[in-house]
Symmetry: C2
Subunit: 348 residues, 2 copies
């Protein structure tokens, strides 16, 4: 097969078919009826286009139409079951609308996040979804000057519609479950500790409230040292859990891990312990991973409905009214050692 000098354009097809570029354009799109191109002509043109392996240049089309057919999404990190299943849903819904998804990860870095938003604006994405935003206000500012519709997911922003999990509810349920599994007295080692997340994040703060409320309800409001919002880094979490256990002289009675990434770090510590050392501890993790659900020890997991989150986000993007508002989706408590295939068994 000889390599053609360059990709065929609409002009090449026009030349080959004896039609004008306008006619070719119309014939290849759906509006040939409204431009009154005769059906035999259309078929002839399409035949030639197929023969030449013609494919439209979306840059040119986008330039003219002032829309690109791209949808952007920013996520903190790909390599995580929560966010990668969001990506999967995001892509599925994009396809349904004939849009092409562009997903970029910010590594939870504010500047990187803004850089990505600016880049996506340069590519004229038609809509933008931001999951786990670090600086929602700045993002909204950028989007506004570009006239770009955007929706926050997972972490809300004040400047645009936001769809998030009911973090308070999810955390409260998980905490209640862990308390029920705990047997110890309210000595330091008998307490439950929350680890991971960033306290100023909306999501984490709501979870902490849920955690706190349930403990208070149970008569043991948490001491400050019971809440270790040390961020999302696995290594940092490992460090913190190590320090905690050193202080306490062993694992506490309960452990509420605030994200999968933090849980990876915690696991890095637990791996080094004799199996029986973990037995007395009730462990829960906010977010679900099918493998994490079947560890050596039982783990309660909160499964956020990422599919529903994204579905709702797309709904919001479509609404005429882009007034900021908060929409909450119920998460689900998954019992230990349960493989949950989710509402869409086709994934995974």
């Amino acid at each position: 097969m000889t390599v053609p000098p360059r990709k065929a354009t609409i002009h090449d097809i026009a030349r080959l078919s004896g039609a004008s570029p306008s006619t070719v354009s119309a014939a290849l799109s759906e509006n040939w009826k409204s431009r009154r191109i005769s059906e035999p002509r259309v078929e002839e043109i399409r035949r030639i286009a197929a023969e030449q392996g013609y494919s439209i240049n979306m840059q040119a089309r986008g330039l003219r139409q002032a829309r690109s057919g791209l949808v952007g999404m920013v996520i903190p990190i790909h390599d995580n079951r929560f966010f990668s299943s969001m990506s999967q849903s995001f892509e599925a819904f994009a396809r349904d609308r004939g849009l092409v998804p562009v997903i970029a990860s910010s590594m939870r870095d504010r500047n990187e996040e803004l850089r990505i938003v600016r880049t996506l604006i340069s590519y004229a994405v038609d809509y933008l979804f931001i999951a786990g935003a670090t600086d929602p206000e700045a993002i909204t500012a950028l989007c506004r000057t570009a006239g770009l519709r955007h929706v926050f997911v997972d972490l809300p922003g004040p400047g645009a519609p936001s769809v998030i999990s009911d973090n308070h509810q999810g955390a409260a349920r998980l905490t209640r479950q862990l308390l029920a599994d705990m047997t110890g007295d309210p000595t330091p080692r008998g307490r439950i500790y929350l680890i991971g997340g960033v306290a100023t994040d909306y999501a984490t703060s709501r979870r902490i409230e849920g955690f706190r409320d349930v403990l208070a309800e149970a008569g043991h409001p948490p001491a400050p040292e019971q809440i270790i919002a040390c961020g999302y880094s696995p290594l940092r979490a490992k460090h913190e859990i190590t320090a905690l256990c050193d202080r306490l002289g062993g694992l506490p009675a309960g452990l509420f891990v605030n994200s999968l990434t933090a849980f990876e770090g915690v696991l890095g510590y637990l791996v080094g312990l004799p199996p029986e050392a973990v037995e007395g501890t009730a462990i829960g993790c906010y977010d679900y991973d099918p493998f994490a659900a079947y560890l050596q020890f039982p783990v309660h997991m909160v499964r956020q409905d990422s599919h529903r989150l994204i579905e709702l986000a797309y709904d919001l993007i479509d609404r005429e009214d882009q007034t900021p508002a908060l929409y909450e989706v119920e998460p689900k408590l998954i019992p230990p050692r349960t493989i949950d295939y989710g509402p869409h068994g086709q994934f995974g």
Copy 2:
């Protein structure tokens, strides 16, 4: 804040600065020196551009320059630690080169895969990476008529450079390890079974060879029924492992699971068993997941070096010579209950 009628263009900046569009273009890019624009002029123009929140229109630039700054990658599925960590690396290398990554998942569907390739061609991606290709020849054909450089990853194609793991080696090592852990006699239940993957896939077939060679070496070449290449679907794998155990009257002595997705299905079955039922079985999985590494029972895992795979793929794309060739990367055997942070602790 009032919404401007539309995004500022280079012409707006030209008008505001009293310069011509060409000058503005040059001033905002790096070639103002070669066009001999005076430095004060450049600074003034940049100031005004910043003031107006100008951002370049990549569609227009791409159209003119016949390149988009996009780099595409097709993966089978996002929601999987192997592929999502590939995505992470893919994105990191793209950033280093000033490219914007576009990652799409084919769900391992041939038609979907081709649709995606065509779409990415329409968007004029500068390069294309295809991981786990279903129909490499067809992809190469499309890319050739578009004059698009592409590289296959994980599953090779005959029409372009390919970088893959040394599947034979990885499978052989894993098999050897499992054999060493097994105690049973070579009765059917005492045997080791390989489950998951598609036998006609290059990767799977090489792994099966590795598996077979090691068993033959040990004096027990596998019977056909010991190789259950039932695809990648978790549900299918669950079904097959269930059927197998029904036939055997329990778990076999060894289990070589051929992918994380199949492992999810297998796990779905194992979850329902009493813990001690699993004790006598040596289990291994091709591909690594940090959580899977610390299940109730020990699992040997093969970790492919996705970072290195991608790095090598980018190298190949740069080469002048795009002759098809196969490059192999060594995978690593991860002992049970080990958290491996990989060569790049920044991820995850």
